[in-house]
Symmetry: C2
Subunit: 340 residues, 2 copies
């Protein structure tokens, strides 16, 4: 009798577009994938459903479910549908679906489990907690910004973030702890550092699980800075902040993009006061993994979408390959051979 | 090689609660069931979705889909879920589902077909037309009431309805025509006469199909009159009105309830100015089929439901049995032997 080799267990922490990209790329590989997803989103459709109906914020969970879905293409398109007219304008159908599923199932985690059957998931989407919470950001000036959405979407110039915290302090879903403890690799980023990744890490029990896990801890640095969150950040700043939050654990791998975006895209970012993230990580070939990772397809704004979306994205397939190569036991070079 | 006997083809015309009851009862029999459903609903959640998003009115289609669904119990409960709090209050999730499905599929009939797969239907739900229309009622005073919802829900005393019509005059969906032409039995009622059944019959091509079909034409008379629609109606009035609209076709069978409702229920109806429908159909044993048909389970108002619902209902199983016995070739008695 032969035993099939155990699949590599990869846990992705976050929520939002960056996590969607990672999951979309990873799902085509033979892996045991889990996404541990933030429950602190309070913006847009999610914010309304959460405050009016008391459900677990559905937005990030929905994005991860769609990313890992192997189900009916029509159902996936429905989950991504956003109303652009009438009194429902701005609501995302997937969010409504998860809201009603929670109402029918009576329990948020049971609702997410049921959604796995309906969407035929190729992995596990695990809310980081069965409770919602609120994210706060204390700026270096002492000012406190209340709510993930307010932190995420700023139009005015703002002092740098000193520290994020959550209130109420919620405890992690045991399934999330379990997935992290058993993981072979933990992937953090890309995505909004303070409003997607950090809210997961802040949940009670998650840092301990990250520290206790024997997993390779991977950070994918962002392509561009985000106004109001990571202004002026270089690659080393992303690493430093993440290590502040996951301490005493350290990052084992840092994945950095090497390709140059088209000049017209760069210009658009500069007008929005965002810049390409400068790679200042030096020559630690054991930790740093460099590869060209920018997607050739520029993302477009979705009709009815109230959020400003960036157009520069990681390519899901290239990113997944980079993640897997970075943890390959026989790795001596990166995808381009630059660290050889 | 043996050939399985062809299943009896039954077409139910209408929409709304009465049609739901008929379909719920029939689906447990080995039949080829179709529901040809009104597209003139303009009330509540359906009215908002129709006017704001330009979709085919989903409410009646949704009810019929749920009635004939053999799918996942959770999905069926979701389809019946009505928001009772917040800005979505009054919206039914099944209506939202069908709306988004139509937006994703781009065509209303394709959306309904896709819904069949998702809900695993035990029959066909066929919108009477691929277009929506508006129902009008001309009263005997000459006054015209505009819209199904306005006709359906009246609080003031109103003159009797002289004639209903639709505008725009829409053409029937060829699948609806085909189902009626090939049917062995056509079931009309129970349900709101002028706002569920007549709007189907008024669609271009439906009367011709009913007249050309070799089907047994069955009317199930209502248990109670409805204030503003059928005040003072006896069983013969229901038959007369239906034959006015389907003429020159005639009704072949009329199914009438014989059981008495509990006195406290009668009292509640009388306070709402509705009465039990009096059976004045005489002794035509070939046409009239009598049986005790009232459900022991009294329906309750659903939270968030803006419509007034009647509590006296036909029992789905008893009604289905009555319908099938009424068209049985060896019928000499009704279920109680009263016409023997």
């Amino acid at each position: 009798m032969t035993v099939a080799p155990a699949r590599l267990r990869i846990v992705v922490l976050g929520g939002g577009t960056g996590t969607f990209t990672v999951l979309t790329g990873l799902k085509y590989h033979e892996l045991d994938i889990s996404a541990v997803v933030s429950t602190s989103d309070d913006g847009g459709s999610t914010g309304i459903l959460r405050s009016e109906l008391g459900v677990l914020p559905p937005g990030d969970i929905r994005q991860c479910l769609v990313a890992l879905s192997d189900g009916d293409e029509i159902l996936r398109r429905m989950f991504n549908y956003r109303f652009s007219e009438g009194s429902l304008s701005g609501h995302n159908f997937g969010n409504l679906f998860l809201t009603v599923l929670e109402k029918v199932c009576k329990h948020p985690l049971e609702a997410v489990r049921q959604a796995h059957n309906i969407l035929r998931e190729r992995g596990q989407v695990i809310p980081v907690s069965e409770q919602a919470t609120q994210l706060f950001a204390r700026l270096v000036t002492g000012e406190v910004i209340n709510g993930e959405h307010a932190i995420d979407e700023t139009t005015v110039k703002r002092a740098p973030i000193d520290r994020c915290f959550i209130d109420p302090e919620i405890e992690a879903n045991p399934d999330a702890i379990d997935a992290i403890r058993k993981a072979d690799a933990i992937v953090m980023g890309p995505g909004d550092l303070f409003t997607s990744l950090i809210p997961v890490i802040l949940v009670g029990g998650i840092v301990d699980a990250i520290c206790e896990s024997r997993a390779t801890r991977i950070l994918v640095t962002n392509l561009v800075t985000k106004h109001g969150q990571t202004d002026g950040f270089k690659a080393s700043d992303f690493c430093r902040v993440v290590e502040e939050y996951i301490g005493p654990a350290k990052l084992d791998r840092i994945i950095v993009n090497t390709s140059e975006p088209p000049p017209e895209v760069l210009k658009a970012y500069e007008e929005a006061e965002d810049q390409l993230v400068v790679d200042d990580l030096g020559h630690d070939t054991r930790r740093i993994f460099r590869a060209p990772l920018i997607s050739d397809r520029m993302s477009k704004k979705v009709a009815g979408d109230k959020l400003k979306r960036s157009v520069l994205r990681h390519d899901p397939a290239k990113l997944a390959t980079a993640i897997l190569e970075s943890i390959s036991p026989d790795r001596t070079t990166d995808a381009l051979g630059r660290n050889a």
